[in-house]
Amino acid sequence: MEKSLKEIKEGMASGLPIVIGYFPIAMAFGILSKTVGLTLNESVLFSLLVFAGASQFMALNLISLGVGVGEIILTTLLVNFRHFLMSASISRKIKKEFKRWLSLIAFGITDEVFSVASFKKGTLNKNFMLSLQLVTYLSWVIGTGFGFLIGNILPTILKNSMGIALYAMFVAILVPEAKKSKEILILSLLSGLINLSLKFINILPKGWNIIISIILASSVGLLLFKKGEKNHE
């Protein structure tokens, strides 16, 4: 009992930076969805059922451009497919006795949850994962409703400043790991550089630059660090 309480607390605390980062973005989604013509229920339902920031904004944009439902859904599939890679990676870290909960855990695998959870030391337990996901989910859903109802109450300067939050979190997750491991440093930089180059080349469908970057850089890792691994054996 005490152990699960500790795990839940840890999960909620780990989710706090995400909660801070999500709230203003979710508010912006709520505000924008109103201008596009969604009702409050539809706006909140969007965040309740989809829970994927970038694609939700993309959908609003496409709606306002008059793009059809089928095409928006297809684009969403492409954009959110990166989570397939993230789920695949994180599934190796999750304790197998929590099988019953995996379909719920899978629902909340966002970029941010993935980043926080996959660099947590050791295996991931159910209580940690679910409480981490619950607080981030609540921030996303409540922020959406809040934005829709209350609108632009945050001063622009604060809203803009908070745009740095999730990126700062990604940096703060990565840096201590890259400091410890040359592999992590090289692979993350490589992946970023590939992603940057792909942005300039600009030929892949939306959302696939990051997928190709992850696959390419991780494959380079297989080639590059093979020797190192053998030496350890």
């Binding site: 780990s14 930076p17 801070i20 980062g21 969604l38 539809e42 339902l45 969007f46 059922l49 959908a59 709606i63 859904i73 297809l74 969403t76 599939l77 397939f84 993230m86 789920s87 695949a88 990676s89 599934s91 190796r92 855990i105 899978a106 629902f107 993935f114 980043s115 660099f119 001063p155 300067i157 803009n160 400043s161 745009g163 740095i164 990126y167 700062a168 979190m169 990604f170 940096v171 703060a172 997750i173 840096v175 201590p176 790991e177 400091k179 692979l187 993350s188 930089l189 490589l190 992946s191 970023g192 590939i194 992603n195 990051i210 970057s213 992850i214 850089a217 991780s218 494959s219 890792g221």
Partner: protein, 104 residues
């Protein structure tokens, strides 16, 4: 069913399925090589999530974005800790925008 409701349901299905599929293979063991590939995903995903998006975090102010990220980088290098990195970089960016005098 309204058009938006159909869209929301469709989007939720195509978002959920890729997130769920890998968990169905949780009992399967893969080759050493593939396991290693999966281990490389967290750092490579983070690299691509940061570069180049982070430099555009503050619209039209790449320099202020970089200074904000610089705080997170330095703090997490020397001290570590997500919350201070996040709140500190928000504050740094806030001051940056304020000094620049725009967007208030």
């Amino acid at each position: 069913m309204s058009k938006f409701l159909l869209l929301i349901l469709g989007m939720s299905i195509v978002t959920y399925i890729p997130r769920l599929l890998p968990f169905l293979f949780i009992d399967k063991s893969f080759s050493k090589k593939f396991e290693r590939f999966l281990l490389y995903i967290p750092p490579t995903a983070l690299g691509a999530l940061i570069i180049p998006g982070a430099f555009e975090a503050i619209p039209n102010m790449p320099l202020i974005s970089i200074i904000g990220l610089g705080f997170a980088l330095l703090y997490s290098w020397f001290r570590g800790g997500l919350i201070v990195s996040v709140l500190g970089s928000i504050l740094v960016v806030f001051i940056g925008i304020y000094i620049k005098g725009g967007l208030i």
